[in-house]
């Protein structure tokens, strides 16, 4: 709660500081606020302080603190890496960063809600600023097209979600997750209304995380919106949505997992295949990343389904670790996109990066290897954790997932070869300008990706 209030106030102050038209000041205040929020979160979880003891709508338990923690860190890294494009127009320098911070407030609510009121508000506070941010480049028709597509699919998903919540309320008579859980457990036969509601809520979630068959919007939106915002959608929004899935489906609707479990499993397999097979023939970097993110959602959903064979903290931890690895790798690639800063976003522009700037090339290759799941990078351990849990219940599905990792390695390696290759013709851009903030982001994410696997040994 302290973190939430700190971040909200930071967002407000950032908006007002922007009147001074000093982007640097805005950046410094936003950074202080974000790090303050991080400390607030740790302070609160460490000493078990509740700001409003009578209010039970938000509960920052261990899972919520874990997921909120990486949401805040990723937002900070994204604000740093996208500082230049975000504050390009100094009249709007504060707006973009403030909207990102407000969206982060929604993400924190999504990780910690205990009733449907807060869940719905959190989802909307998370989504609405991102609709606006996707259309950040006002004169760019592609950016506003991406914004409209994201808005229409997002608000349609909201409508479906609300319809689902209404059915759940109708059959259980409560919005509180604990009461709903007890109502489902105590009734001898649950009405089909409840199942309809749960499936509608599930469908809207699959929309939000961009899983097959509701993935059609994500390549377009990712390709059209600015790189930094694409990174925000791929990391923070997905992490918050997965935290909410864990809390809703595996914690609340666990007794009726026979209804939604097989569906999620099917969606997981479909997402892997569609994501990986479509990524092979992409010629633009961000579209490739969008399809690869669909595949990664598939792997993470596999961890959600295997919840009943393990104890609560284990699968929470598996999903968390996997998304952390995915988010760090995405942030490195987004930083590279920001550095190259090419409108056409053609994959050929990545040819020979490693020859122009070997250290940047090294970071990019580390990120791609992590996405592909090659040891010793963090992505490998994330996949290992998920597959080693799932193999007891679904050995065939794990075989399919491994096959998909193989397909994934094909196009990831193709990208690595492009980064390393000598350019055939004279390159369009001579020098890569990397500012110090972007170096910091690259180093933090790169080091975490490298040592993340070894941190696992400590637990």
């Amino acid at each position: 709660m302290i973190a939430l209030i700190t971040l909200f106030v930071t967002g407000l102050i950032t908006l007002f500081v922007a009147f001074t038209r000093k982007p640097l000041l805005v950046g410094i205040i936003a950074t202080i606020g974000l790090i303050g929020g991080l400390f607030g979160l740790m302070y609160e979880s460490r000493y078990g302080i509740r700001l409003f003891p009578d209010y039970h709508g938000l509960n920052f338990d261990t899972t919520a603190v874990m997921f909120s923690f990486i949401c805040i860190i990723f937002t900070t890294l994204l604000v740093w890496t996208g500082f230049k494009p975000l504050t390009e127009n100094e009249n709007h320098a504060g707006d973009h960063i403030a909207l990102m911070i407000f969206s982060l407030c929604g993400a924190l609510i999504m990780t910690s809600f205990t009733d449907f009121f807060m869940f719905f508000l959190g989802l909307e506070i998370l989504s609405i600023p991102v609709y606006v941010l996707a259309g950040m480049k006002k004169s760019d028709a592609l950016s506003s097209e991406a914004s409209l597509k994201y808005f229409l699919t997002g608000s349609f998903a909201t409508g479906i979600l609300l319809f689902g919540i209404a059915w759940i309320y109708g059959s259980t008579g409560s919005f509180d997750l604990l009461e709903i859980k007890n109502a489902i457990l105590n009734s001898t036969h649950n009405s089909s209304l409840l199942y309809v509601g749960v499936l509608l809520v599930l469908a809207s979630f699959l929309f939000k995380i961009g899983a097959v068959p509701y993935h059609f919007w994500s390549p377009d939106v990712y390709a059209g919106s600015p790189a930094t915002i694409m990174g925000f959608m791929a990391s923070v929004v997905k992490i918050a949505a997965f935290a909410a899935i864990l809390r809703l489906f595996t914690d609340t609707f666990d007794s009726i997992s026979g209804v939604w479990g097989p569906l999620v499993l099917g969606v997981s397999v479909l997402s892997m295949f569609v994501g990986n097979l479509s990524a092979i023939k992409q010629t633009r970097v961000r579209r490739l990343l969008a399809y690869s993110s669909i595949a990664h959602v598939g792997y993470a959903l596999l961890a959600v389904v295997t919840f009943d064979s393990v104890e609560t903290t284990t699968y929470h931890y598996n999903v968390y670790y996997y998304l952390l690895a995915y988010g760090l790798a995405t942030i490195i690639l987004i930083t590279a996109e920001n550095i190259i800063n090419d409108e056409s976003d053609d994959i050929e522009n990545w040819v020979g990066i490693a020859r122009k700037n070997p250290i940047l090339g090294l970071f990019i290759i580390m990120a791609i290897l992590s996405l592909a799941g090659v040891p010793p990078m963090m992505g490998f351990f994330g996949k290992y954790l998920i597959f080693s849990q799932a193999i007891y219940d679904y050995p065939y599905i794990v075989a399919i997932a491994l096959l998909n990792s193989g397909i994934g390695i094909y196009y990831y390696l193709k990208l690595i070869v492009k980064v390393l290759r000598k350019p055939y013709e004279a390159p369009k851009f001579d020098k890569l300008i990397i500012c110090s903030l972007q170096w910091i982001v690259l180093i933090i994410s790169g080091v975490l990706l490298l040592i993340g696997g070894f941190l696992l040994l400590l637990f």
Binding site: E124, I128, A141, S147, S155, A166, Y169
Partner: protein
Amino acid sequence: MEGTLLNSGVSLQFYIILATIIFCIGVLGVMIRRNAIIILMCVELMLNAVNLLMVAFSNYHGKGDGQIFVFFIMVVAAAEATVGLSILVLLYRNRKTVDIGLFNKLKD
């Protein structure tokens, strides 16, 4: 699910049927219509169907929280409509159309 709602002679199932019909009209509108403004209105229709359902269930259970949820939905719907219309204005300035069939530049 039977029984008559408080202070009205209409039973719950009619509310459920009406809300479902309105919701389905909204969903069909989003899927079929090409004009972005009408799609926006259809989304609002979906949300209002949910409002009706919430109030009916709230009355059926004899609890007030469903009706409070309706206020949350109304506030969020207003915020969404604001953002949606401003995105549409932005897009109209850039492309001079609101036909979603023509917004296909990202596809290639």
